[in-house]
């Protein structure tokens, strides 16, 4: 497989996942705040901007973070390279570039999503319907991939892209909220509990959480999002998926590694498997999550160096 094609598949996975995650956090935050007292309001849009790593650029453009400015910037803005619309444009551009290598259905689906969000913008649709369309688009994307793509190396690059992006995104969502809710300025208990529910909902883990715990406990939320091997949005789950895809590409067997990306993925996955949540908290959750995000970025760079942009002598 051409390196450039593998690169495109990897980034289709990452961009689609990024669009989906951004839509989820926007949507959940919006709905949660509809019933909140106005004084907590302002506090609660800023973390969203932080999650996407866009604070500096955002505040150059807007004075305050609220539903409208957050939606403008995270939803459609062409100035924000990580806005949902930009992610979908880039996913589509990658898909278009390699449309001879993916199923026709997958191309038509991504192309359809692109036209759909343009139409919603032209019609002036609000945040809720927009996010809904993007989330549905994300689900359909995974469904079409699953049902129409051959399980070859290309598939594994796509999976690797999705898993890596999702792992990093979940770690970041948890990090930002934890920082705000536990270490940040004191807010009402009621509001705090609502916020944790929103975190769980934004990664579709609320129902799963409630089946196991009767009330919302930050440690338990962190345990689920970081360490639970069963939930498809937990960091551990996704590093497991990533590890399997990397093995499939290189032919390595479990317990070994063929390159630096595999080694780091394996080490991070081990740590998430054997570290307890109490250990993590006593060492500092924020530091742990920061390191996990940094590891994800390093893994991405190594995958690139190994397979996609290696030097030819």
């Amino acid at each position: 497989m051409l390196s450039r094609i593998a690169d495109s598949l990897f980034w289709i996975g990452r961009y689609m996942e990024r669009a989906d995650n951004t839509a989820r956090i926007l949507d959940v935050n919006y709905h949660m705040l509809l019933e909140q007292p106005p004084d907590t309001y302002k506090l609660r849009w800023d973390p969203l901007i932080a999650i996407t790593g866009e604070r500096t650029r955002f505040y150059q453009r807007f004075e305050e973070a609220n539903a409208q400015t957050a939606f403008d910037y995270l939803g459609y803005s062409a100035d924000n390279p990580n806005s949902i619309a930009q992610c979908i444009i880039l996913a589509r551009e990658n898909a278009r570039t390699i449309r001879d290598r993916i199923s026709r259905e997958l191309w038509e689906d991504i192309n359809g999503l692109y036209h759909k969000i343009n139409k919603l913008r032209d019609e002036g649709e609000g945040l809720s319907r927009f996010c809904d369309a993007v989330k549905r688009g994300g689900h359909r994307f995974h469904g079409v991939c699953d049902a129409t793509l051959a399980r070859d190396e290309g598939w594994h690059f796509l999976q690797a892209g999705c898993a890596l992006e999702r792992a990093e995104m979940t770690a970041r969502i948890l990090d930002v909220h934890y920082h705000q809710l536990v270490e940040g300025p004191q807010i009402l208990n009621e509001a705090r509990s609502h916020a944790w529910v929103a975190v769980l909902k934004s990664v579709a883990a609320y129902e799963f959480y409630k089946r196991q715990h009767s009330h919302i406990e930050p440690t338990q939320v962190a345990q689920l999002l970081l360490l639970d091997p069963r939930h498809p949005r937990s960091v551990r789950f996704n590093l497991g998926v990533l590890q399997n895809s990397l093995y499939a590409i290189s032919g390595s067997v479990p317990g070994s590694y063929a390159n630096e990306g595999e080694r780091l993925t394996g080490r991070a996955h081990e740590s998430l498997t054997y570290d307890s949540i109490d250990e993590i908290f006593s060492g500092g959750l924020h530091d742990y999550l920061e390191e996990m995000q940094a590891t994800c970025r390093t893994i991405g760079a190594h995958i690139s160096q190994t397979y996609l942009y290696y030097a030819v002598s």
Binding site: S3, W107, E108, K116
Partner: protein, 507 residues
């Protein structure tokens, strides 16, 4: 059609279209009409389809038309227009009324094109070899060597199996006065449009399945197989399966869809310049598991941009060192480098002479009379008759650099006069040919009107014989009265049917 598409754009039929008959008020006029004979009755080859269309209410037709458009949009067969900061997707307009060619006419076209493609190849082999034709003074040496697509680098280079033009698109028009097909120009570099031929057919088969039941239309979809076979046969390495790739300038090229489409249909890798690397005069592509040797490149990148070390140094889409690998005989290129010296619009005037010189045959398809502005006698005639002639820049295509005398204002004509005098070699002139017309639908008014058309058949040459997919791309000038069919100038396309017989009840 897949369901997400339905959600993108709804079908919307203007209520006033109602159940009006489609051909109400249709006027074939004084030009040759491809569907309707001068007596007002459908021509035999078009009769079956005409009956279906004539019996179809306007609103039903319009619905099918919109569904056809939608299928192009969903598949992303669009080109992007940047106007308001974000790209707007435009369709290459597709007209649902097919252009129908009876078998006896096609037989003549096919023979004429095969003859022409053979002659163009002999000519190129000669020009980059012994140059007999120059010594015999069939064509002026000065004219050939001043051609901007003449590539000195190709002199004495042996191309695989002596083939220069593997793929040619030869533009034909039918002269309304005689009913005869004429060759308007040759495209011997990398003609595009074949993907539209194949997609148009696909859409037509879905849209008018019944018409295909009653008309015996010859298939077109073997084109990619045939092209793939020829490309594989060029491999300089014997033995194992050759690695064939299609080299594209990339996503922003207007023919990118076609590049993807052909690569997929032929089961070959679609590559960009940055995917290829030349090491010790051997071409490789970069894969996730290292370098893989490449044997044949179907390149859709112009000569100028092919190799920054040999041609334009600023090319970002080429492959450094490719010409060295070509010269070393380690890679085959289709088409060969330097074929532009065969499709220059001034050289065109001599192609009938090539046919006589190399094949000892009379040309089956005639040229349009052509004045070479490089000849002083022709130039003075052209300058005296600018208002009646079509003037074309010799190295341009796509309808650019062109003057349509009869429909141009005085200022434009005077502009051209200056340009002609300054650089006569760069221009030719031809009389305006009254192109034949074909019924075409205008969605804005819901009426069927006669519009001018041309035809670009696609010819494949394997070193022994020429294969031509029956039909080709019919382009239509959708503007009333316009004779310019290029897509860049507001043209559209039609499906082209070659019938197994001549149509009509007896066939």
């Amino acid at each position: 059609m897949s369901s997400p598409s339905q959600a993108i754009i709804a079908i919307n039929i203007p209520p006033e279209f109602g159940g009006r008959p489609l051909f109400e008020g249709y006027d074939p006029g004084t030009f040759y009409d491809e569907s309707i004979a001068p007596d007002g009755k459908p021509r035999p080859e078009a009769a079956a389809m005409h009956e279906i269309l004539a019996g179809m209410p306007l609103d039903v037709f319009e619905e099918r038309r919109q569904l056809a458009d939608l299928s192009y949009l969903v598949q992303g067969i669009t080109f992007t227009v940047y106007s308001d900061g974000r790209g707007t997707e435009r369709l290459f307009p597709f007209d649902l009324v097919p252009r129908i060619i009876p078998r006896h006419e096609w037989d003549v076209i096919e023979k004429g094109l095969a003859q022409r493609v053979m002659a163009l190849n002999f000519y190129l082999q000669d020009i980059y070899g012994k140059q007999r034709i120059l010594r015999d003074k069939i064509i002026p040496r000065q004219l050939v060597q001043s051609c901007k697509h003449f590539r000195r680098e190709m002199m004495g280079l042996n191309v695989p199996r002596d083939i220069y033009v593997h793929i040619a698109g030869i533009d034909l028009v039918r002269d309304s006065r005689t009913g005869e097909y004429l060759v308007l120009e040759d495209n011997a570099r990398s003609p595009s449009g074949i993907s539209y031929v194949l997609e148009n057919r696909l859409v037509m088969r879905r849209t008018f399945a019944r018409a295909f039941e009653v008309s015996e239309v010859m298939p077109v979809d073997h084109y990619p197989n045939e092209l793939g076979r020829i490309l594989r046969s060029l491999s300089p390495r014997s033995g194992d399966r050759p690695v064939v790739v299609l080299l594209t300038p990339g996503l922003y090229n207007s023919a990118y869809f076609e590049h993807c489409f052909l690569a997929q249909e032929m089961g070959i890798e679609l590559v960009e310049g940055r995917d290829l690397v030349v090491v010790d005069d051997v071409v490789y592509m970069k894969t996730i598991h290292g370098l893989t040797r490449v044997d044949v490149i179907y390149r859709r990148v112009d000569d100028d941009f092919l190799d920054p070390l040999a041609f334009r140094a600023d090319s970002l889409v080429g492959v450094p060192g490719l010409m060295n690998a070509y010269r070393a005989g380690n890679i085959a290129l289709a088409n060969a480098v330097g074929t532009g010296v065969a499709d220059d619009k001034a050289i065109y005037a001599f192609v009938p002479d090539f046919i006589r010189y190399y094949l000892g045959e009379e040309p089956i398809l005639k040229n349009v009379d052509t004045y070479l502005c490089s000849r002083p006698d022709h130039l003075s005639y052209v300058l005296d008759h600018l208002g009646e002639l079509v003037v074309k820049a010799v190295g341009e295509s796509g309808g650019y650099g062109m003057l349509m005398g009869p429909s141009s204002d005085k200022k434009t004509i005077e502009d051209f006069r200056v340009r002609l005098k300054a650089d006569p070699r760069n221009y030719i002139a031809q009389p305006v040919i009254p192109l034949s017309r074909c019924p075409s639908f205008d969605p804005a008014t819901g009426t069927m009107s006669a519009r001018h058309i041309d035809l670009r058949p696609y010819c494949l040459y394997d070193g022994e014989k020429v294969t031509i997919v029956p039909g080709g791309l019919t382009r239509v000038a959708l503007q009333k009265g316009s004779l310019v069919v290029n897509s860049s100038q507001g043209g559209g396309s039609k499906d082209t049917w070659v019938l197994r017989g001549d149509g009509g009840q007896e066939a």
